[in-house]
Symmetry: C2
Subunit: 244 residues, 2 copies
């Protein structure tokens, strides 16, 4: 499995992903699920991937091929709005899934994949889209400023309690780490290294990028302090009326 | 959906459940999912239920009918070990599911149900079993002292960080409430009132039972303090090296 998330804040965007890939429990490997595209100075896109690895890799190959081909009408360089990038990505994903669907179905596997694509095109606000396996997509909003793909449930409670669009980018990145850590603790199919990218509004570049291995001292400190903080929160819960 | 959990501690057992039942989003009702059986002074059983409501209700009817019928060889009064109670419950569940399976499959529904059954028989240690829809079962252990059924993922991270068999029964009950609250916040198919029962080792009775409505002051205080505690934990996370 996979767990990727992105948060849309007033200050910009935060992206985070694990990098464990598995086909069964006896073939576990590490692949980056975070891909940055800066095809022109006026735009940046970050793509996070979940689902069938062959599908997501082929979609990324096609995204890059379309950028190389001058004659192709549609590419991340040519889209005029972020939603057009999500729409285009969704169509590529459907094409790739369809191309391998018969073989996959015969073998009892799924070729489905989900994506988060976020970024900014100059003159427009930054944005985040979740592209479903069916090719349709939804965007984050001030009420729900985050999107998740993959194994999303374990990491959702921490997000729901803290997230709001006024967080700083750094707080957003810390929150993403906490959400990833909750998921990794409860589900072994999500694992390090963790990638975190911070993309400030109107910067059109990744301002900070972290690749945190499982034994990274910074990540260890995040984990320990969060664990301590939760235990302290637990100790401060109210007593029942029969405890006095 | 449903979320029920039980925790096995050195001091005894804690059971907790939500009480929201839904068939689609437009038929949402409230049913207790916690059922206490004290068929003889030397034993107590608590049954938590998840899954198809018709199945779980019929299983409970049959459990009670078997207790009424003096001539029936198998009942919660007659089992000699806790695992026999789990085995018996699993067989009843399979019988009920099978009886309605054809009609349910025709309609595209599932008659599956899961149960947690826990308690104590005099002379033996307290115990907890999770009975799968297939009728087989697993028990909690000191390494994994809790069992969950229903919508289990949202509430697992808090459990995993705090649970250990040396907790007091009251701490176990608070932890169960926190785990339920995390689930309710992230999933509207799990909802109040919440039931919590504390069953001390060698007590053969429920020592404390709470039925907490959504507006219960105690539950509100648990929620607020947990939320505050998490926010404080979040504020104490380490800074990135570029923040000084």
């Amino acid at each position: 499995m996979t767990y990727c998330l992105a948060i849309s804040l007033y200050e910009g965007l935060v992206f985070a992903s694990d990098s464990r890939t598995n086909a069964g429990v006896d073939y576990v490997t590490t692949f980056s699920k975070m891909h940055v595209f800066t095809p022109a100075p006026d735009r940046i896109f970050v793509v996070l991937t979940a689902g069938n690895l062959a599908t997501t890799q082929e979609v990324l190959h096609r995204l890059r091929r379309d950028l190389d081909a001058a004659e192709i009408a549609e590419s991340l360089r040519r889209v005029r709005y972020l939603f057009e990038a999500a729409d285009y990505l969704g169509r590529l994903s459907c094409e790739v899934q369809l191309a391998h669907m018969q073989g996959m179905q015969r073998a009892g596997f799924s070729s489905e994949a989900s994506f988060i694509i976020g970024g900014q095109i100059r003159g427009q606000a930054p944005g985040l889209f979740l592209v479903y396996p069916q090719g349709n997509y939804i965007s984050a909003s001030p009420e729900t400023p985050y999107l998740q793909i993959g194994e999303t449930k374990y990491g959702k409670p921490a997000l729901d309690r803290v997230v709001e669009p006024g967080l700083t980018l750094e707080d957003g990145a810390r929150l993403a780490l906490v959400s990833l850590d909750a998921t990794m603790r409860s589900n072994i199919s999500v694992g390090p290294p963790l990638e975190v990218a911070i993309c400030p509004r109107d910067g059109f570049a990744i301002a900070h990028y972290l690749n945190l291995k499982g034994d990274s001292p910074f990540y260890a400190e995040v984990r320990e302090r969060w664990q301590e903080g939760l235990r302290r929160a637990f100790q401060l819960l109210p007593r029942f009326d029969w405890e006095t």
